[in-house]
C-alpha cells in the first residue's frame, strides 16, 4: 500500500494484446448498425424496412415493434425508448437496428431504412423550456433543487453579480461504444461490453429484452476510457435484440461520429450568481440560479442538478445561501454523467465570482479565497458539517508558493500559435490564475451505495494465492492494480489474481463519482478481513498475515500460511460506506454527501492578445487524497483530470445549432494534444479521512473541476477581458465585447 506496482493489465496493453470490447470476435458473428434520426424533434410517420431487408448479407432489421420487453430505459427515470416509437426527441435518436455479415453492409442497409418524418419545432434552449410545450409527461423541469440557508434577505456592502455559461463538453473517450452479444442456449444472452456499471446495465437490458436478470450475463470487455459516458446504455440492448433474433453473435462498434450521438454529454449550463461580502471580502451571502440543459432524456440529470446545487457556493463558508438549480428537458443531445458531474459548471461560475470579488475588494485572488475557505468543522450550505480534513487554504498556498515557470524560450513551439508562427512574441501577455473546487465522493442523497467483493485464499502449487472477484469496471484508472494491492496487504501474500469483472458476482456500483477505490476498495478489504479471520481462527495466538506467514500481534511469525491453509477460504462481502440522507425538498438541507474532496490549481498562460490564441504554460495542482494507495495512479488521475479541465477551458465544446450537432468528429471537436498540455506540477496531500478505508479520499474528479476556472482566470489576467463562457474562444478575447 502506498507503492506503485506495475498494472496487471499493462503488459497486454503495451503489446496490443489487451482485448477491448471492440476487439472481440466470434465465429459466424454479424455486425450491427443503427438507424438514427437526422431531426432533433419529429413525429415518425412511417418506417419501411423492406429495401434494407432485401440487401444481400442482411440478416435482420428491427424496430420498436421488435423490442421484446419494455421499450424504455434510463438510469434514474426510464424515459428513453430503446428504439423510437412515434416521436424522436434528439438528433441521433435510434429508430432501427440492422445486422449483416460485414459492417459496411450493415451501414448500407441502415441507410436503406426509409423513415418518413413530420418535423416538429425543437426546444433548443433550456431557459425557453420552462414555458415550452412539454416534451415528456410531467413537463420540462426534470428536477428543481433549492438550497435555503440562513437569512433570505441578507444584505452586504459589497456585491458582485455575474452570469456565466458553460458549453457542452464531450467525454471523448478514445475507445468508442462497442460490444459483442452472444445468444445463449437457455434463451438468454451473454454480453461482452465496455461499461461503467455492469449490474445497472443488466437490470435495464433484461427489462427491455423481457428476460429475467439471470438470463442476461454481462462480462466487462476492455474499456477504452469512460469519464461518465458509459454510465448509460448505448448498444447493449440493440446488439442483444439482434443476437436473439438472428441466433448469431452480433458485434456493434460505433465510429467516432456515431459515438458523439451514442452517449450523453456534460450539461451545458447558464449560471447567474450574486455574491455579497463585507468590505474586507468575507462572504455574507450567495444567491444563484443554475439552469442545466438535460437534453432529450433524463439520464442522470437529477443527480447532476443536486451536485450543482449542493456544491454551488464552492469550498467557502457562506452563512446565507439561496440557490435554485434546475435540470431541463429540451431537444438537445441528452446530457448526463461526465467527470465532475455538476460541480464543474458551478465551479466555473463561483470561482469567476471570487475573482471579481477580489478585484472589487482590492486583494489578490488567493487572499480572497483564503479568507473564506472552508476547513474541517465548517458547515456547507446544506447544513452538512465537514467532518474530515478540508485543507482548502493549504492547497491554495501550495500552488501559490510554487516557483513560477520561466519566460517562454525563443522557440515558436513555446508561443501561442505554435509552429504556425503567428507571433515572434509581440502581443503576447502572460497571466496567472487560480481555481479551487469541491466534489462529493460516492453516490449521495440516501442512495444505497455499496460494492461486493469475493476473495478466496488457497494454495496453488504450494503457494498461497488470493483471487479477487468484483464486478467493478476497470476503465483505465487502475482499479485492478489497487484491488490486488489491497489483497496483498490484507492477506500478506505475493500472488493475487484479479479475475475479470462480470455479473456472476454482486454489484460493485458504478466506476464513477470518484468512488471505486473507496467503495470497491472497502469491499475487497472487508472480504480479505473475513478470509483472514477464518485463517487466524485456526492458529492459536495468530493475529495477522504478513509475508506469507501467520504472525502474532507483534508481528512475530507463528506459522507458514502454506502449512495452515487446508483448503480454500472464501468470503463474499457487501460493503457500504456510511449512509447519506436525502435533501429536504424545500430547503435543500441534509447530510447528503459521504465525503468531500478538494483540489486547487494555479494556471500560467501566455495569450496572443491580437489573435486570441492561448498557450497554457504550466498547470500546478495540489490535491488532498487522504491516502495515496497507488501514488503513480493518483498522479495519473490528477494529470488526466486536469487535461479535461484544460479542454473545457480553451477548446472543447459540442456546437449545437437548432438541436443539430455541428462538430461530431475529432477534426472539429478538439481535445488537448500533447502540444496543448503544459508540464504539470503536482502536490499530493495525504490527510486521512477517518471514516474511509485507509483514510483515502476519492481522486478522479476534483482536478477536472478546478483546472477550468484557473486557466480562464489566467486568460482574464492576461487580457483584462471578463470571459464569462467556458470554453474561451479566440473571438471572446479579441472582440472585447461587453458580454465576453
Amino acid at each position: 500500500m502506498g507503492t506503485s506496482p506495475l498494472r496487471p493489465d499493462g503488459v497486454l496493453k503495451v503489446r496490443g494484446e489487451f482485448a477491448y470490447s471492440s476487439d472481440l470476435w466470434a465465429d459466424g458473428m454479424l455486425w450491427g448498425a443503427t438507424v438514427r434520426s437526422p431531426h432533433p424533434h419529429a413525429r415518425i410517420v412511417r418506417v419501411d424496412i423492406t429495401a434494407a431487408l432485401k440487401l444481400a448479407g442482411v440478416s435482420a432489421v428491427l424496430t420498436h415493434e421488435d423490442v421484446p420487453g419494455r421499450n424504455r430505459y434510463g438510469l434514474e427515470h426510464a424515459d428513453q425508448p430503446v428504439l423510437a416509437e412515434d416521436v424522436v426527441r434528439y438528433q441521433g435518436e435510434p429508430i432501427a437496428v440492422v445486422a449483416a455479415d460485414h459492417p459496411e453492409t450493415a451501414r448500407r442497409a441502415a441507410a436503406l431504412v426509409e423513415v418518413a418524418y413530420e418535423v416538429l419545432t425543437p426546444v433548443t434552449d433550456a431557459e425557453a423550456a420552462f414555458t415550452a410545450p412539454a416534451l415528456h409527461e410531467g413537463g420540462n423541469v426534470l428536477r428543481h433543487v433549492p438550497i435555503r440557508r440562513g437569512d433570505e434577505s441578507a444584505t452586504a456592502p459589497v456585491v458582485v453579480v455575474g452570469e456565466y455559461t458553460v458549453g457542452m463538453q464531450d467525454q471523448a473517450f478514445l475507445g468508442p461504444e462497442s460490444g459483442l452479444a452472444v445468444p445463449a442456449d437457455d434463451g438468454g444472452v451473454d454480453l461482452y461490453v465496455a461499461t461503467q456499471w455492469l449490474h445497472v446495465d443488466r437490470a435495464q437490458v433484461a427489462r427491455s429484452l423481457g428476460l429475467p436478470e439471470e438470463k442476461v450475463r454481462i462480462t466487462l470487455g476492455g474499456v477504452g476510457g469512460a469519464f461518465g459516458a458509459r454510465e448509460d446504455l448505448s448498444m447493449q440492448v440493440h446488439a442483444s435484440m439482434l443476437a436473439l433474433r438472428t441466433g448469431k453473435p452480433v458485434k456493434m462498434v460505433y465510429g467516432r461520429e456515431e459515438s458523439f450521438f451514442g452517449h450523453v454529454h456534460r450539461h451545458p449550463a447558464r449560471l447567474r450568481y450574486e455574491h455579497g461580502a463585507t468590505e474586507d471580502g468575507r462572504l455574507v451571502y450567495v444567491r444563484a440560479r443554475i439552469v442545466l440543459d438535460g437534453g432529450a432524456y433524463a439520464s442522470s440529470t437529477t443527480a447532476v442538478v443536486a451536485n450543482a446545487a449542493t456544491l454551488g457556493v464552492g469550498p467557502y463558508e457562506v452563512p446565507n445561501v439561496h440557490i435554485d438549480a434546475y435540470g431541463m428537458y429540451t431537444n438537445n443531445p441528452p446530457c448526463g454523467a461526465m467527470r465532475g458531474f455538476g460541480a464543474v459548471q458551478a465551479c466555473f461560475a463561483y470561482e469567476s465570482q471570487m475573482d471579481r470579488l477580489a478585484e472589487r475588494i482590492g486583494v489578490d485572488p488567493v487572499e480572497i479565497r483564503l479568507r473564506n475557505a472552508v476547513r474541517e468543522g465548517s458547515t456547507m450550505p446544506t447544513g452538512q458539517v465537514i467532518d474530515s480534513p478540508a485543507p482548502v487554504a493549504r492547497l491554495l498556498t501550495i500552488v501559490r508558493d510554487r516557483p513560477m515557470p520561466p519566460p517562454a524560450a525563443d522557440d515558436p513551439r513555446e508561443r501561442p500559435g505554435g509552429v504556425a508562427n503567428t507571433t515572434r512574441g509581440e502581443g503576447v501577455v502572460r497571466g496567472v490564475g487560480y481555481g479551487v473546487g469541491v466534489k462529493n465522493v460516492g453516490f449521495s442523497e440516501g442512495f444505497d451505495d455499496y460494492s461486493t467483493a469475493r476473495v478466496r485464499l488457497e494454495l496453488i502449487q504450494g503457494e498461497p494465492v488470493a483471487t479477487v472477484h468484483t464486478a467493478a469496471a476497470e476503465v483505465g484508472q487502475g482499479l485492478v492494480t489497487v484491488q490486488a494491492q489491497i489483497a496483498r496487504t490484507e492477506l500478506g501474500v505475493r500472488q493475487v489474481t484479479v479475475v475479470p469483472a462480470d455479473t456472476s458476482v454482486g454489484s460493485a456500483g458504478s466506476s464513477s463519482a470518484s468512488r471505486q477505490t473507496y467503495v470497491t476498495g472497502g469491499a475487497v478489504r472487508a472480504a480479505c478481513a473475513a478470509v483472514r479471520a477464518d485463517v487466524l481462527a485456526s492458529v492459536p495466538g495468530g493475529a495477522g498475515l504478513h509475508g506469507g506467514k501467520v504472525t502474532t500481534v507483534d508481528g512475530e511469525p507463528l506459522a507458514d500460511l502454506a502449512d495452515v491453509l487446508t483448503g480454500p477460504v472464501e468470503h463474499t462481502v457487501e460493503w457500504r460506506h456510511r449512509p447519506t440522507k436525502p435533501l429536504d425538498p424545500v430547503t435543500g438541507q441534509g447530510d447528503a454527501h459521504v465525503q468531500y474532496a478538494f483540489a486547487a490549481h494555479r494556471a500560467v498562460v501566455d495569450v496572443d492578445t491580437e489573435l486570441g490564441l492561448v498557450r497554457v504554460v504550466e498547470l500546478a495542482c495540489a490535491q488532498d487524497v487522504g491516502k495515496a494507495l497507488n501514488p503513480q495512479a493518483v498522479e495519473g488521475q490528477i494529470h488526466g483530470g486536469s487535461a479535461q479541465g484544460l479542454g473545457l477551458a480553451v477548446m472543447e465544446e459540442i456546437q449545437v445549432v437548432d438541436g443539430q450537432v455541428r462538430n461530431p468528429s475529432f477534426t472539429d471537436y478538439l481535445i488537448p494534444t500533447i502540444l496543448d498540455m503544459p508540464p504539470m506540477a503536482v502536490d499530493i496531500l495525504e490527510l486521512a479521512d477517518p471514516a474511509a478505508p485507509y483514510g483515502l479520499r476519492g481522486v478522479g474528479e476534483p482536478p477536472t473541476i478546478s483546472a477550468t476556472p484557473a486557466i480562464i482566470a489566467a486568460i482574464r489576467a492576461a487580457t483584462g477581458v471578463a470571459l464569462t463562457h467556458a470554453p474561451v474562444r479566440p473571438d471572446h478575447i479579441v472582440t472585447m465585447s461587453d458580454d465576453q
Binding site: 506495475l6 503495451v14 482485448a19 459496411e104 478514445l174 477504452g224 483505465g476 500533447i674
Partner: protein, 156 residues
C-alpha cells in the same frame, strides 16, 4: 480482392477484401491483429499508427490495396520492447487505447532522434490523442526510453 502483405515479418494473404476497406480493417478483422486501434477513422487520433515499410502512418488512412506487396509492422511486432517497457513502468498506460499508436510513434521518434528535447517529443507525438493521462507520464516514458537507449549506447 486479394491483398498480400508482409506483416510483422510474415507473409499474409487476405481474401475477399472489399475495395473500401482500410489497412486498419484488414489488420484488425481479417488478419487477427486487433492491437492497432480504431478511435476516429480519419487520421486525427493516431491510435492506429503502424509502420508501412519504414514510415509511421495511420493505418485507417491507408486503403487495403495500397498495402499490397509492402511491409507492415504493428504493435504486435518485434523491436518495440524498450518503448513498451518504458510506457509500462512510468504509468503512461491507463485505459491503453491510445497506447499502441503512441508506442509506434514514440519508437519512430527515437529512431530518428535518440535524444529528443521535450519540445521535440511534444511535436513528434502531437498526432496521437490520449484522453486519460494528460500526457505527463507519456513524456516520462519517452524520456526513460531515450535515456536507456543512451545508457546502452554508452556501454557498447
Amino acid at each position: 480482392m486479394r491483398v498480400r502483405v508482409e506483416v510483422n515479418g510474415e507473409q499474409r494473404v487476405a481474401d475477399d477484401v472489399w475495395e473500401g476497406e482500410s489497412l486498419l480493417y484488414v489488420l484488425r478483422e481479417r488478419l487477427g491483429l486487433p492491437g492497432s486501434k480504431n478511435a476516429c477513422e480519419q487520421g486525427e487520433c493516431g491510435s492506429c499508427t503502424v509502420y508501412l515499410d519504414d514510415v509511421a502512418v495511420c493505418a485507417c488512412l491507408v486503403a487495403a490495396g495500397q498495402a499490397e506487396g509492402r511491409r507492415v509492422r504493428t504493435i504486435e511486432g518485434d523491436g518495440l520492447e524498450e518503448v513498451q517497457q518504458a510506457f509500462l513502468e512510468t504509468g503512461a498506460v491507463q485505459c491503453g487505447f491510445c497506447t499502441p499508436g503512441l508506442i509506434v510513434a514514440a519508437h519512430d521518434l527515437l529512431r530518428r532522434d535518440p535524444a529528443p528535447a521535450d519540445p521535440d517529443i511534444r511535436e513528434a507525438l502531437a498526432g496521437n490523442l490520449c484522453r486519460c493521462t494528460g500526457y505527463e507520464k507519456i513524456m516520462d516514458a519517452v524520456r526513460l526510453a531515450a535515456s536507456r537507449a543512451k545508457g546502452r549506447a554508452a556501454c557498447d
